[in-house]
Structure formats: C-alpha cells, structure tokens
Symmetry: C2
Subunit: 199 residues, 2 copies
DNA sequence: CCTATCTTGGACTGGTCGTTCCAAGTTAGA
DNA sequence: TCTAACTTGGAACGACCAGTCCAAGATAGG
C-alpha cells in the first residue's frame, strides 16, 4: 500500500559522514546536508530524526566503516610491532595526503564539540577508544610473544599510550602538522617499546 | 577630555577565556560573553573587535597565562625524566579534577573547530606546539645528560611523541576519560624511554 | 559651568539555525 | 479505478547569531 522511499538512506548517510567529517558537524547546517544529499528536509527528518540523531548515526557509521576495519586488521595482524608501525604509517598518510587530507578523524574531532555530552554520542566515543586500545593491546601481546618488546612492557598500559598517540596524530594533522613530524613522534615511542637486542 | 573605560579589559578577557575554555568558543554566543563579563556589546566590540579577534585574543591569553608558565617550568627543571613525569601527573590531575575538570585544553579544543583556519589562530596553535615540544626536548636532553634515558633516544623525535601524547590526554579528558587510564598511558611511554639500568 | 570626546546601554538589522507543517505527488493492494 | 498509506517539496516558524547604530551618560580640560 504505502509509497516507498525514493532514495537510498545508506548512500545518503555516507554523504553526511563525509560532510560532517570534513567540515565538522556543529558548523554544518541542515541546509548543507539537504544540498549534499539531494534529498529534502522532510525525507531527512522522517528517515534520521533531528540533527542529534543524524550526527550520532553518522558517527556510528564512521566507526563501523572507517575505524573498525582498520582496528580488526591490526588485531589480526600476526607480525607484532611491524603491524603497529604499519598502522601508524598508513594513518599519517591518510591524514596528511589523499582524499581525506587534513580532515582528521571524525571521532577525534567530536571529542571537543558540544555533541560529546549527548549520551548516544558519548557512547560511540568510548566504544572507539575501547576498540582501538584492544586492537593495540592484541598487537602488543603478539609482539611480546615474539620477543620484540622489552620484558617490562605492560601491554595494557602501552596500548593506552598508542591510542592516545593516535588521537594526537589525528588532532595535529587537522591543524596542518607535517607528516614528517608525526612519523618521527610515532617512531620514537615504538623505538622505546622495542627490545634492546632488536635495535 | 575623553571619558575613560568603565571596566578592566584584562579581567574581562580572563572571563572570556574561562567561557571559551569550558563551553567552546564556537558554541558560545556574544550574548553569553556579554552576560559573563557584565559589559555591553558596544564596549566589547570597541575593545576587542569582532568574535574572531576576541577568540584569537582569548587563545593568546590562554597560551601566555596557562600553557607558557608550565612549559617554562618544565624546560627549567633540572631533574630530567622526573620533571616530565611531574608535568604529566599535574596535567592529568588538572584535566580530571578541580576547578577545570573536563574542560580539556583550550588550544587542543581549538584544533578541531572552524577557527583553526583563521591565520591569527592557526599561528597560536603552531606556537603552542612548538613551545611544548621545545620544553619537552629540553627536559629530555637533561635526562640524556644525566644518563636517565636509553642511548638510542632522539630527544627531538621523543619530544614530538610527548607533545602528541599531551594532546591525547587533553582530548580524552574532555570526553570523560579516567585519570587512571591516562596516567597508565603516560607511565608506559616514559618507561619505554627510561634506560634499562634505571628501571 | 561648558563642551568636545569618548563610553555605554540597548534597540535593531539581516541572516541562519533546527524544526514543523501541509498540500501535492506516488504507490500498491482492494 | 479507487483509496489508504506513505513520501516529498517547499513554505513558514520562532529562536538565536554576529554585528551595527545611536541617543544618553560620563569625563576632564578650558
């Protein structure tokens, strides 16, 4: 009986993610979303609810499509430290060059805005951190099993370090930091974790 | 002949710093500034210019009054690694407890917002990073001279690491991260830098 | 006291915000 | 084909935004 949607909500949400990611959700108006997606205010509100709900949906989509696959690859990578090095090298490259250069990370960017207080969004921020840290910890435990890291290294604490470092990279890259500086910062901490004999 | 200002611009700017720091400059309207400072729109615009100029002035004030003294103390501290440990312990404490708990760092918060594109503000962000890194580097060189760090440590690169880590702490603290997690993350990286025999 | 000069309070502007609403259009089962 | 259910475009809403403007008030030299 009913009419059916004349657009693809999934594709529209992807557009919203790009928009919020590049410009920032708080500074992006509904009018911008309407223009970027090509659909009308009515369809937007009927499909996603208000702006807060839309922002939360976009953030979840970002976590699922952008962050989680990379985290999964890191956790599943059996190489140990080289896996972590590769993660950061690809991170810096993505943040400083290519299509998304200087966009930073949508989750990182959301940390400072007013939306961080919305429970639905706060939850995604925490999930992102937990998952990133877990992936780092898995890679560090692999490194420990392979004897690549010093004996005193606590994988749990070191995973927190690397997660915080990733936020620092995301943050500084959005403000124009050079890839060389960021890579040097990453290299130094990984050198610190590396077992002396490996150097 | 002329009348004289009926308020103290310095004290007013301090109020603005607090307001922008806690709530975020982008989400704070001129009306909020008027209410917080107690002065009128006319005086505000006559004294500081528009909002961009006000935000830049507040950011510079924050760097001068909040960041720079701490950086100077770190650079002048002769203890080496303990100075860095102390810096981070005080940082985490300030970010998670007390008057400014969960406010994060105004400079860090500004990294993600639209104001980061304004040259006058971008300049302050870069100055903050340069000065933080220089202070870290000075402390690391002291640590190296005292034999507290491993021989392979590059003070320049390690200083970048610690600066990025500080941004991570600032960022996550604003979103509610626990002091324990943050401290663990800090401890792990400093352990990594520490010379084996010191452990 | 007078007056030139600056400050101040508050009304006001045009524009944008998120959101609501409704008439017109579209669909698919009866 | 008729109609109930849903979508869609676009107008309209009140609230807020940064910024402007001016009359009224305050000041200090003459």
């Amino acid at each position: 009986m009913p009419d059916i949607k004349h657009f693809d909500p999934d594709a529209a949400l992807d557009q919203v993610v790009r928009l919020f990611w590049e410009r920032g959700a708080d500074v992006t108006g509904i009018a911008d979303v309407v223009q970027a997606t090509g659909l009308s205010r009515s369809s937007l509100y009927a499909t996603f609810g208000g702006k807060e709900r839309l922002q939360a949906a976009a953030l979840r989509r970002y976590l699922e499509r952008q962050s989680r696959p990379v985290f999964a690859a890191l956790a599943a990578d059996g190489r140990g430290l080289p896996a972590i090095t590769g993660f950061f090298e690809r991170l810096v490259a993505a943040r400083c060059t290519g299509e998304h250069a200087r966009w930073g990370c949508l989750v990182t960017n959301t940390h400072t805005g007013p939306a961080r207080a919305i429970p639905e969004i706060q939850q995604v921020l925490d999930a992102h951190h937990t998952e990133l840290r877990a992936a780092m910890r898995a890679a560090l435990e692999t490194a420990r099993d392979r004897g690549q890291v010093g004996p005193g290294l606590d994988p749990h604490a070191a995973a927190e370090t690397l997660a915080l470092l990733a936020y620092g990279v995301n943050l500084r890259s959005r403000a124009g930091a050079g890839a060389g500086d960021l890579l040097a910062g990453v290299r130094a901490v990984l050198d610190g974790f590396t077992r002396i004999e490996e150097r």
